[in-house]
């Protein structure tokens, strides 16, 4: 009998990626989850099972912070979904208009903030909005709207929304680019066929283009979800690890950082920090699963 030869080359070609990915992603991930099941008692690490999670969810001191961070995270995500993605889609629709001039220029200009570092974005916006040196108060003053200015980043009721909008400003280029690419793949024939049937202009967008780019919008939503629930950098750069004022901008990422590494006199607690990281992982996993199995499989696809 002629048994098929074992195909070594598959193993060889997969090995580098698998090894690197395991070393830098899979192993740390599971090790973090493992760490969450331990606690430190008298300088030694002891196994405590799910006690850290119990503390996190049911101890009033921890749970208050956790739910506050989770709630803020959902608000952060909601702003992105309601502001960033619709604007991204609208910009893409405008940019793909065949008669728009300088569209390449606009496209680059809107996309550029995405490649900036969080630190630069956080610092620049902090300066722009600064009540002391910022240009925002003087610009509002120039049009007679000075009374509308408030030290947004320092007010509990506005700070998180302000930061979410800064993040939207930074990342609106990503949905725009993805949707723009999706719009370009729509064949002219379909649009022309629609035109013959009397569907033109805005109704062509709503009735033909939008259904065809829905899968892309789905992908963007899930990317936004994962990105927002892993967010940390912008808040840390703009407000510091205490996510002031009065924890109003605290999201899971900053909460995890503060707990894991400690802050000022508060010593780091890697085990509770890992428990928070585990909770973040679970939330993202659940969200992604809902999308993959609940939404993506039911989405209608059109053969173009």
């Amino acid at each position: 009998m002629n048994r098929p030869r074992f195909r070594w080359h598959i193993v060889v070609f997969l090995a580098p990626a698998v090894l690197v990915y395991t070393a830098v992603m899979i192993f740390p991930l599971f090790n973090t989850l493992r760490l969450a099941l331990y606690s430190e008692v008298d300088q030694s690490r002891v196994f405590v099972g799910l006690q850290n999670f119990q503390t996190l969810f049911f101890d009033p001191i921890w749970s208050e912070q956790f739910w506050n961070a989770l709630g803020n995270n959902f608000w952060f995500f909601l702003i992105h979904m309601l502001v960033q993605n619709p604007i991204g889609i609208a910009l893409a629709a405008l940019l793909s208009h065949p008669r728009l001039r300088f569209s390449a220029l606009y496209r680059s200009a809107i996309f550029i903030p995405t490649i900036l570092s969080f630190v630069i974005v956080g610092f620049a916006w902090k300066l722009i909005l600064s009540p002391i040196w910022g240009i925002a108060p003087s610009m509002l003053d120039a049009v007679g709207l000075k009374s509308l200015f408030a030290p947004w980043l320092g007010k509990e009721e506005y700070a998180l929304t302000t930061l979410a909008l800064i993040s939207v400003w930074q990342f609106v280029g990503i949905p725009m680019m993805l949707i723009y690419a999706a719009l370009l793949t729509i064949p002219e024939e379909i649009l022309e066929a629609g035109e013959i049937d009397g569907i033109t202009g805005a109704s062509a967008f709503w009735k033909i283009k939008l259904p065809l780019i829905l899968p892309s919008i789905g992908i963007i939503s899930i990317l936004t979800f994962v990105g927002n629930f892993n967010a940390f950098d912008l808040i840390y750069a703009a407000q510091g690890a205490l996510a002031g004022p009065d924890f109003s901008t605290d999201i899971l990422g900053t909460f995890m950082y503060r707990t894991f590494f400690g802050f000022q006199l508060q010593l780091g607690d890697p085990h509770m920090g890992s428990a928070i990281a585990g909770a973040m992982f679970a939330i993202i996993l659940v969200g992604v699963c809902i999308y993959l199995f609940g939404i993506q499989t039911r989405m209608r696809r059109y053969q173009l």
Binding site: L129, W152, G154
Partner: protein, 417 residues
């Protein structure tokens, strides 16, 4: 043949390299004082290296807010420097208990320090010292002398005079009465609550009583400072809610504000930035003639990494840090960081001299939340930041804040249960 000779050459050079290293030991210092980099490089390290040939020293600071996290990670990974700048109290105590810091009790030069000076870097029973005390910082208010002269204001000594002065500055309108923001939160607690507070809780007396559980954070002595802080709000500049620490420093040194609630560590920075004459006054007392209390906070020490490969050289360095020679260089090069050594040091800087003079007039204490009380969750120091900000903004009443803090402290601290 050719290969062998190459190997030999390589081996030889490695050996020579090792030999050279054995002659010249390099010590690395971990620190959060990146502001002091030039001072260490230009003054302290050359002075030490001149006195101790064969030992080279490198000063490698990281950003203050990240220092604790960075240091802990480095120590756990075994890549931390030989010498470690010590934060006061629990952060360093935890390092000692985790076996990262060496017991220095036996080092002869530790005799140059008083027990109070050493208290920030000792085990709770005082048996073991693990860091050499370097410096303390004193709280108070720095003011713009030109502004005070221009408006005809005398330096306030009581609280009534203090607020009268602020009213006068506000009325005149040329200057922002006081430069402080609440964006970064810690200033409100450090330069606010713990600056004026000791006059209310009578310094060490109240602080010790709080640690023993004899006083509570709901007592008048501990809530009244919040009531005073609540009055500060109207004297801070427009939009102080989003004003950061560097903003406040700049506003003051640009001459736009008259009073700056300060820690003495600002002196060298302010001397370089401000082109007007500055003075300082201590936290105003509640009634004329009251004993004054100041926060003279033990802030910096330096210890030895237990995993260091050069313990002898590191000990030589620490002994030198404990000497009067170092105190003299350090105290004068960094006016505002006052040496803790028992030998008095003559300071040159007038502002630093003025502030250190308060040690003779007032009772010294340290920040109330630092020793023992910030060991649990919730962390009292961090909670105090939030509470002080809430007080200034008027978001909560002093009694509410006291009750909240007391509840948090009592949740984990046995003497308060």
């Amino acid at each position: 043949m050719k290969r062998t000779s190459l190997k030999l050459a390589l081996l030889g050079s490695t050996l020579m390299g090792t030999a050279a290293m054995a002659e010249d030991v390099t010590l690395t210092i971990e620190s959060w004082r990146n502001d002091d980099l030039t001072l260490w490089q230009d003054q302290i390290i050359p002075a030490f290296e001149a006195a101790n040939p064969g030992i080279k020293v490198q000063f490698t600071p990281s950003a203050p807010a990240e220092y604790n996290a960075v240091l802990n990670s480095k120590l756990d990974a075994g890549s931390a420097g030989d010498l470690i700048t010590c934060r006061p109290f629990d952060a360093s105590l935890a390092l000692y208990e985790a076996g990262h810091l060496t017991d220095l009790s036996g080092v002869e030069a530790m005799g140059n320090f008083s027990d109070v000076a050493k208290s920030a870097w000792q085990t709770d029973d005082g048996a073991v010292s693990f860091c050499v005390p370097m410096a303390s910082v004193i709280h108070g208010f720095i003011y713009n002398k030109d502004a005070f002269n221009e408006l005809g204001i005398d330096v306030p000594t009581t609280e009534d005079e203090f607020f009268a002065a602020l009213d006068k500055i506000k009325e005149d309108g040329t200057y922002i009465p006081m430069a402080m923001g609440t964006n970064d939160q810690w200033e409100a607690a450090t330069m606010g609550y713990n600056n004026i507070g000791p006059n209310y809780w009578k310094g060490e007396e109240g602080r010790q009583a709080l640690i023993k559980g004899e006083q509570k954070l709901t007592d008048e002595a501990w809530t009244a400072p919040y009531a005073t802080l609540a009055r500060w709000g109207e004297y801070l500049g427009d939009g102080y809610e989003a004003q950061t620490y560097p903003d406040s420093q700049n506003i003051f040194t640009l001459g736009r504000a008259a009073v700056y609630p300060a820690g003495s560590w600002e002196i060298s920075g302010f001397n370089a930035q401000a082109d007007f004459e500055m003075g300082a006054f201590k936290p105003p007392v509640r009634n004329a003639g009251d004993t004054c209390y100041i926060s003279d906070h033990t802030d910096i020490g330096i210890g030895m990494n237990a995993a260091t490969e050069n313990p002898e050289a590191a000990e030589t360095f620490l002994a030198w840090v404990a000497s009067p020679e170092f105190a003299e260089i350090f105290g004068n090069a960094l006016p505002g960081f006052f040496p803790l050594s028992s030998t008095p040091v003559e300071l040159q800087d007038p502002l630093a001299k003025e502030i250190v003079g308060w040690r003779d007039e007032c009772e010294s204490t340290i920040r109330s939340t630092y020793q023992i009380l910030s060991r649990g969750t919730p962390n009292l120091e961090n909670e105090t930041w939030g509470a002080s900000v809430a007080a200034i903004k008027g978001a909560k009443s002093p009694e509410e804040l006291g009750a909240e803090l007391q509840e948090g402290l009592a949740s984990w601290y046995a003497p308060h249960q």
